[in-house]
């Protein structure tokens, strides 16, 4: 008897829950209608390919099996083994070089961009003649499309005729002879510097907007207390800009780990190979997937990169969690 009642109760509770859900869905018909087109678009271009991509990483999908697509032979984790551990595989050595380069590249670009962006923002936040002009000029790299950035710097880095070696060696005599920028470890500089050049304006704008939001009184009060410029920066400016720095740091990490355009265009204008010290993860995966049709290992490599990025996001969230709460 008792049991029966309680069961009835459960059922009615369940019914109540579903009817409540149906009611909620009906009530929000308008909201659903607004979301629907975006949902369909994301389903077709993001979610379905994403699931297929994960499945592809377990398939032996190369130039011979390409026609079978998802019916290609299932090989389990072999693609991951090839990419990560197979010492005899050229795919692995290429991937590892690209991984090393990408880590150095993403870290240096982010640090340099934040430091130079902060210095620039502080410099143009003062009152002086030509302030508007200075701000506009500092923004200009941002207008240059990134594939043009790659092409332009690839031209500037040329060993014999490039303008950079001409300035450094022929005109200023800083270096004794002209270094090769586009081969050997120098390549890392050759890809980091243009990326910093292109990415700094955006960060500068963000930091400048943050600086302008800080009330003048804070600085005046600090000045009365006899604080130096450095102290004012450390104890007022930096803490108040922390949320902006946090968001842009994450955005920068993701963008630069997934960086493709500049490096892809710098070497032979998109037709060349960036070399052992210039190849990034995305250029590497793209070349192996669409150049020699190693799609299975390409998908596996992509997922490895994705897992790395997701762990970076996790670490970032732990470090900056409190800043995000304050921001809300």
């Amino acid at each position: 008897m008792k049991v029966e009642i309680s069961r009835e109760k459960v059922v009615s509770k369940k019914n109540k829950k579903t009817s409540r859900l149906i009611f909620e869905i009906r009530k929000n018909r308008f909201a659903y209608a607004l979301v629907l087109p975006a949902f369909i678009a994301m389903l077709i271009i993001h979610f379905i390919p994403m699931v297929q991509g994960i499945y592809m990483s377990f398939l032996k999908l190369n130039q011979f099996t390409l026609n079978q697509f998802l019916k290609a032979p299932f090989v389990g984790l072999q693609n991951y083994y090839t990419v990560l551990f197979d010492k005899s595989s050229t795919l692995r050595s290429g991937f590892m070089d690209a991984l090393r380069n990408t880590i150095i590249y993403a870290l240096s670009v982010n640090i340099l961009v934040l430091v130079i962006g902060m210095i620039s923002a502080l410099l143009v936040n003062r009152k002086f003649k030509f302030r508007g002009l200075a701000r506009t000029l500092l923004l200009t790299p941002w207008v240059v499309p990134s594939y043009v950035v790659g092409m332009l710097w690839g031209f500037m880095w040329q060993q014999d005729t490039g303008i950079i070696n001409r300035i450094l060696v022929d005109w200023l005599h800083i270096l004794p002879d002209k270094p090769f920028w586009l081969s050997g470890p120098n390549t890392l500089w050759a890809i980091i510097i243009p990326t910093v050049w292109r990415s700094t304006p955006f960060i500068m704008i963000m930091l400048l907007a943050g600086l302008q939001n800080i009330p003048e009184d804070y600085y005046e009060a600090a000045e009365i207390d006899g604080a130096s410029s450095v102290q004012k920066f450390r104890h007022i400016t930096l803490p108040l800009l922390r949320p902006i720095i946090a968001v842009n740091l994450l955005h920068g990490m993701i963008t630069h780990i997934y960086s493709f355009n500049i490096v892809a265009m710098m070497f032979g204008h998109g037709a060349g190979f960036p070399g052992k010290w210039g190849d990034l993860l995305m250029t590497n995966i793209n070349r192996n997937s669409f150049g020699i049709w190693q799609m299975g290992t390409g998908a596996a490599a992509t997922i490895v990169v994705m897992i790395i990025v997701l762990s970076i996001v996790g670490i970032w969230y732990r470090v900056f969690r409190e800043d995000l709460v304050v921001e809300e």
Partner: protein, 288 residues
């Protein structure tokens, strides 16, 4: 005594100011030099470029030669068509969705928001590999071509740029007080009418900023274009440059001219709408 101290302080401030100006000047020079060099070298002859003689900067015919020989107009036109239509489609769809998740709490709204954000952490190539295969399969089995067509690249771009646009727009819509629509609805507006008549005009700055952002991203896109638009009929500028480098490997004068011309549309958009764009983008960022 006190006077002296003030004098010293003033002098120190002045020196600091001058030092800051010098530093700023150096940064500005480094910033604009590559762009200036691109422009200068686009006006030099191939021989002077190789010899490093920067004297004769008047060869405007480089631009004509580039325009005719590389067939640059075609790629330029393709880029304009693809990017403009992409911007319009993505902006409309993202505006609706962004408004919806900013205003309404419905079953699944939180999940949708998370899904939108998480797409931003996934590399483009993750979608590109299966998409390319899928497109080829559809072409073979149904006879609908998608690769190397305008609609293929436009659909892909539009969908690809929707999530981050939703996220930016959501912030703008959330900052508009809810009472405005409620008042409009009391006055007899339908929810959609209130959205169209009250909310859209109020958030025009944000919507325009987002639109510019989509256009810039699409203009800058390379990875998808390299795979989905490889024939000259639909190739965008970067693909066009890549298609023709084989023939013009050493013609840096022409390539730099192409670089200048590819930058101009962005330059125009940016400097005519700079105020709106920057206030829009930074407002979204400062608010998070």
């Amino acid at each position: 005594m006190k006077n002296n101290y003030m004098k010293n302080l003033k002098r120190k401030k002045k020196i600091q100011h001058i030092a800051a100006n010098i530093l700023l000047f150096i940064i500005v020079i480094f910033t604009i030099f590559p762009i200036v060099w691109m422009f200068i070298s686009s006006l030099m002859t191939q021989n002077n470029l190789a010899a490093g003689k920067i004297t004769d900067i008047t060869h405007w015919e480089n631009y004509i030669e580039m325009w005719n020989n590389i067939d640059f107009f075609k790629y330029f036109k393709n880029s304009l068509i693809v990017c403009s239509i992409t911007t319009i489609i993505a902006l409309i769809i993202a505006t609706f969705a962004g408004y919806s998740i900013a205003r309404f709490k419905f079953p699944g709204s939180g999940l949708f928001g998370t899904a939108v954000l998480s797409t931003q952490m996934i590399p483009g190539i993750m979608f590109l590999l299966p998409l390319y295969m899928m497109f080829i399969k559809i072409q073979r089995s149904l006879g609908i071509s998608i690769v190397n067509t305008y609609h293929g690249i436009i659909i892909t771009y539009s969908a690809f740029f929707i999530p981050f646009s939703i996220w930016i727009l959501r912030g703008f819509f959330a900052s508009i007080p809810k009472e405005l629509e409620e008042a409009a609805q009391i006055d007899g507006c339908s929810p959609f009418g209130a959205f169209m008549r009250i909310i859209l005009p109020l958030s025009s700055t944000g919507i325009i900023a987002t639109g510019i952002y989509i256009f810039l991203m699409a203009w800058d896109e390379l990875l998808f274009a390299w795979v989905l638009a490889t024939t000259p009929d639909v190739a965008t500028i970067p693909v066009g440059i890549r298609l023709y480098v084989g023939n013009y490997q050493n013609r840096y004068d022409l390539l730099m001219a192409a670089g200048v011309v590819s930058t101009i549309p962005i330059l125009i958009i940016f400097f005519t709408l700079q105020k709106k764009f920057i206030s829009g983008i930074t407002a979204g960022a400062v608010k998070g």
